[in-house]
Structures are given as structure tokens and as C-alpha cells.
């Protein structure tokens, strides 16, 4: 805080009018007490001094007298008393209602025009209010309050009929209470409104609600009671879908694994290929193909002359072999016929010489 104060001090030092800037513009937003700080710029002013200066400045501007530090404490005390009284009132009202509901209904006469219990409670509260107000003004008004009270206490009427005085005082106090009841209950309500969430938060920090729910709550039973259909009816699926980033989901899918487990065979079995072909415009597809270019590419890929050479060579070779084999068979047939006519056993077909070719030799 002291640092903050010095910062304020420094800032104001920058705005000290010197030399070239004699006139300070009127539209400058000034921090409270700025004038005082400027006036005392050369002094080593503490934060307390600055506050005091602010207070003085405010006093001078408002033209009203501010309450002394003692009076602020008194106001706080008064507020606390009011809140306590409100709390007490709320509790007492609830208690009285509860008691009244349990008690048997008596005659109207017995209760009288006014409930003495309520009157007494109101009186007590009124006294509390008064005490609060008294405490609030205690610092300044001790002397003012003491004198009349003493005078009032030594009044002959008080001595004469103390019972009546007490009853009258009680009615007055009750009236005071009634007058300020609404304000006090409102104060107590706002106090509880800010207090209860804090208490709940503190409790939640201390208690493991999840474990507690697991231990104590039969979640299955609750789930069984839930009407899922009704919940679904209330869910805006389209809005949910709009919020889903499909692309990101697809990017995270393991497509290979998906493809492996995909029942392709089943799907293929169910596809009516004939129907697909019927609906396909083959002519349009063919029109889009550059058949000439494709044919050129294919021919470039294939060594057509070599293919023709090899295939024709194979054909010629097969033809020649067929002719040779036919010749061999015919030779054998003729030999057998001649041998049979000449009644010979067999022919000497193996030529003489060492280098006669055999079937095992290489070509």
C-alpha cells in the first residue's frame, strides 16, 4: 500500500505546473487530494498523511462534517447489531410460528387483541435496536444521553407506577422494532446470502463429494428412474452436431485399422453390379478418354518390334519342329514298311565315327 501511495505521489509530481505550463486545464481528471499533494510536493508525506489530506479535501468539497474514526466503529457496530437482530428475528419468527402451530387453539379472549409472546419478543428486539442505536451514538452522545436518562429515571411517575411504565416502554420498544423489522430482515437476508455460498464452498473443499456420492447414493436406481426419451426430446441434436469438428475426428481415426475390419466382402455381395452398369453412361466415359494418347503410351511401353520378332520366331520354330517330327515319323514308317517287305529285322541307324552327335549334346 505504501508503494501504491508513493506511486500516486510520483504521478502527481509529473503534473506539477512549472515554467511553461502555468495554467492547468480545468478538464483534467484529478485524483482525490491531488491539490493537497501538489501543495505539499516537497514534503516527505506518508500514506496516512495522504489519506488525512484526502479526508480534509473531501470535507472541504462536500462542506459537511465526516464522522470521526470512533463514529465509523459505532456505525459498524450498529450494522452488526442490526444484522444479528435480523437473524434473531427471522429465527424467532420461525420458532414462534412452529410453537404456535403445535399449541392448541384457545379462545380469542385468552390471547387478547395482541399476542403477549410476540409483543415481548418484539420488545426485546426493539431494545436491541435501541441498544444498537445507542451504541452507534455512544462516542458522541454519552453526555446527551445520560442526562435525560437520569432525569427520566428519577421522574416521580416512574417511581409511582413502575409496572405501567414498563409496559409502556415495552410497547414503545415493540413499535420501534416493528418500524425497523423489514430493514433488519433484509440486512440479515443479504448477509446470509453472501455467507451461505462461502460456507458451502468451504464445505465442498473439505468433503470429497464424489466419494460421498459413491458411498451413499445408489446411482443405478437414479438412472433407472431417468426418462432418457424425454431428455433426448429436449436435446437439440443439430446444434450439437454443428459444434462437432468432423474433420478433427476423421484425422484421429485409424483408417488402416478401420479398413482391415471393414466387411468389404459383405458389401460387395450386396452390390448389384448390373444395376450400377445400367446407370453408368459408358459412352460419356469413353468420350472423356484420350484413346489415342493412351494407345501411344502403351506402344511406347511395349517393344513391339521385339515382340513381333520373338513371337514370329517362336511360331516359325514350332512350325519347323513340327515338320521335322513329321519327317522323322514318316521316315520310321517307310523304313518299317520296307523292312517288313524285305523281311528285315531292323536298320543300323547309328553312324560310325567318334563325333557323331547325340541327343545329349548341346546345340
Amino acid at each position: 500500500m505504501a508503494g501504491g501511495a508513493s506511486a500516486v505521489h510520483d504521478v502527481r509530481m509529473d503534473h506539477i505546473p512549472i515554467g511553461d505550463h502555468p495554467d492547468e486545464p480545468d478538464n483534467v481528471v484529478r485524483l482525490p487530494g491531488a491539490g493537497e499533494v501538489e501543495d505539499r510536493a516537497d514534503d516527505d508525506m506518508s500514506y496516512e498523511d495522504a489519506l488525512a489530506a484526502d479526508a480534509e479535501s473531501d470535507d472541504e468539497e462536500d462542506g459537511t462534517s465526516a464522522p470521526a474514526p470512533g463514529s465509523q466503529v459505532a456505525a459498524l457496530l450498529e450494522q452488526g447489531m442490526k444484522v444479528s437482530a435480523g437473524l434473531f428475528a427471522a429465527g424467532a419468527t420461525a420458532l414462534a410460528d412452529a410453537l404456535r402451530s403445535t399449541m392448541p387453539k384457545d379462545d380469542e379472549e385468552a390471547t387478547g387483541p395482541k399476542d403477549p409472546a410476540a409483543t415481548l419478543a418484539g420488545a426485546g428486539l426493539g431494545a436491541a435496536v435501541t441498544a444498537a442505536e445507542a451504541a452507534a451514538g455512544a462516542a458522541k452522545q454519552v453526555a446527551d444521553t445520560v442526562g435525560p436518562a437520569v432525569t427520566w429515571l428519577i421522574e416521580p411517575r416512574f417511581a409511582k407506577d413502575a409496572g405501567e411504565m414498563a409496559a409502556g416502554a415495552a410497547r414503545v420498544l415493540d413499535g420501534q422494532w416493528k418500524a425497523s423489522q423489514a430493514e433488519m430482515v433484509e440486512l440479515a437476508t443479504s448477509f446470509l446470502g453472501s455467507l451461505v455460498p462461502e460456507i458451502a464452498r468451504g464445505l465442498a473443499d473439505q468433503v470429497d463429494l464424489t466419494a460421498l456420492v459413491r458411498e451413499r447414493v445408489d446411482v443405478n436406481a437414479i438412472v433407472e428412474d431417468v426418462d432418457i426419451d424425454r431428455i433426448l426430446d429436449r436435446v437439440d441434436i443439430d446444434a450439437v452436431i454443428d459444434r462437432v469438428d468432423i474433420d478433427e475426428i476423421v484425422a484421429r481415426v485409424d483408417m488402416e485399422r478401420l479398413a482391415r475390419s471393414f466387411p468389404v466382402e459383405t458389401i460387395v455381395d450386396r452390390v448389384d453390379v448390373d444395376r450400377v452398369i445400367e446407370r453408368t453412361d459408358l459412352v460419356a466415359i469413353i468420350d472423356r478418354l484420350d484413346l489415342a494418347e493412351i494407345a501411344e503410351e502403351v506402344i511406347d511401353e511395349i517393344d513391339l518390334p521385339r515382340l513381333v520378332r520373338e513371337s514370329s520366331g517362336i511360331m516359325a520354330n514350332e512350325t519347323v519342329q513340327t515338320v521335322r517330327v513329321q519327317g522323322m515319323n514318316a521316315d520310321r514308317l517307310v523304313s518299317r514298311v520296307v523292312d517288313k517287305v524285305l523281311r528285315r529285322e531292323a536298320r543300323e541307324l547309328l553312324p560310325s565315327g567318334p563325333s557323331a552327335p547325340t541327343g545329349d549334346e548341346a546345340p
Partner: protein, 172 residues
């Protein structure tokens, strides 16, 4: 070579491999002779066309096809045939027809035929082609020319050429 031989042997049709090197019969040899005659005829015709072309180029204005009687053609054919057969037999041992039919001419020791023997056999073959048909009767599938020059014609589909033989002396 052994691998290539195995591959070549496998490429042979059924019954062909085991008959390689055996003396060939009359039908195959006649086929080879017919093909050779066709070759010779084509060569004669080609020579005639070449001569005609030469005449045309020399005197185009007075060009007429050269006259050639059948006798002249036959003489040319004989000459061409003798030259062709002599060169073939001394070289690879087979003429064009014999190559097509898978035949090869071997000398007395199973080697290549010498030049003199080849020339004399060629002259004999061209002069007396019917001597070929004796191979149908011969026990060793030998034609008249084979008997005279001690040669033999075998089935040989391989491209390998047998060793040359220096002995040109014809035997019985």
C-alpha cells in the same frame, strides 16, 4: 553348355531328342532335297532378274527381258546347285533344305566332309538325284551317294558344327 543342352533337349518335341544323331530316313531327306531345289530355282530366278535389271540400267530404251530356254535354266540350276551344296557341306554340313529338316551330312568318321568329297558328291547328287531313294531300301539308310562317298546323313537339330576333317580321300 550342359545347361544350354538340357534346355535345348527339353525344348525338343516328344521322340525327337532320342533320335538325334541317328541316320535319317528317305522322307526327311527327300523333303530337304525338294527345299534345296526350290532354293536353287529361286537363286536362278534371282540371277535372271538381276541380269535383266542390269540390262535395263545399261540400255533402258532397248530393254527387253533376256531370253532363256529351259535347258539354259537347267544348266544354270545345276551349276548353282553344285556350288551351293559344296559350300554347305564343307561348311556346316547342311544345305538350306537340310537345315530346315534338321539333317546334317557327316563324313566317314563322323566329321565334317572335305571340299573334294563334298564337290564330287554334289556333282553326283545333281546328276543323279534319284540315287537318294536308295536310302529307303538301304539297311543303313544310305543313298547311292552315301555308298559311293562313305557319308551319312543324320538327324541333328543342334547348331553345333562337327570337327572338320582333313582327309578328303573318298573311301568305298
Amino acid at each position: 553348355m550342359s545347361g544350354a543342352a538340357a534346355t535345348s533337349a527339353r525344348a525338343f518335341p516328344a521322340g525327337a531328342a532320342e533320335r538325334q544323331g541317328l541316320r535319317a530316313g528317305v522322307v526327311s531327306r527327300t523333303g530337304a532335297m525338294v527345299i534345296d531345289i526350290a532354293y536353287v530355282a529361286m537363286l536362278v530366278a534371282a540371277g535372271y532378274a538381276a541380269y535383266a535389271g542390269f540390262r535395263f540400267l545399261r540400255k533402258p530404251a532397248q530393254f527387253t527381258f533376256p531370253e532363256m530356254t529351259m535347258t539354259e535354266a537347267a544348266v544354270y540350276g545345276y551349276v548353282v546347285a553344285v556350288l551351293m551344296l559344296t559350300m554347305s557341306w564343307t561348311g556346316t554340313g547342311r544345305s538350306g533344305g537340310a537345315r530346315l529338316m534338321g539333317l546334317r551330312l557327316l563324313g566317314p568318321a563322323g566329321a565334317r566332309v572335305g571340299l573334294v568329297r563334298a564337290f564330287l558328291r554334289a556333282v553326283t547328287c545333281v546328276a543323279f538325284p534319284l540315287g537318294l531313294f536308295w536310302s529307303a531300301v538301304s539297311k543303313r539308310n544310305a543313298s547311292v551317294h552315301d555308298v559311293i562317298f562313305g557319308t551319312s546323313v543324320v538327324y541333328d537339330w543342334h547348331d553345333r558344327v562337327p570337327e572338320a576333317r582333313t582327309d578328303d580321300a573318298p573311301t568305298s
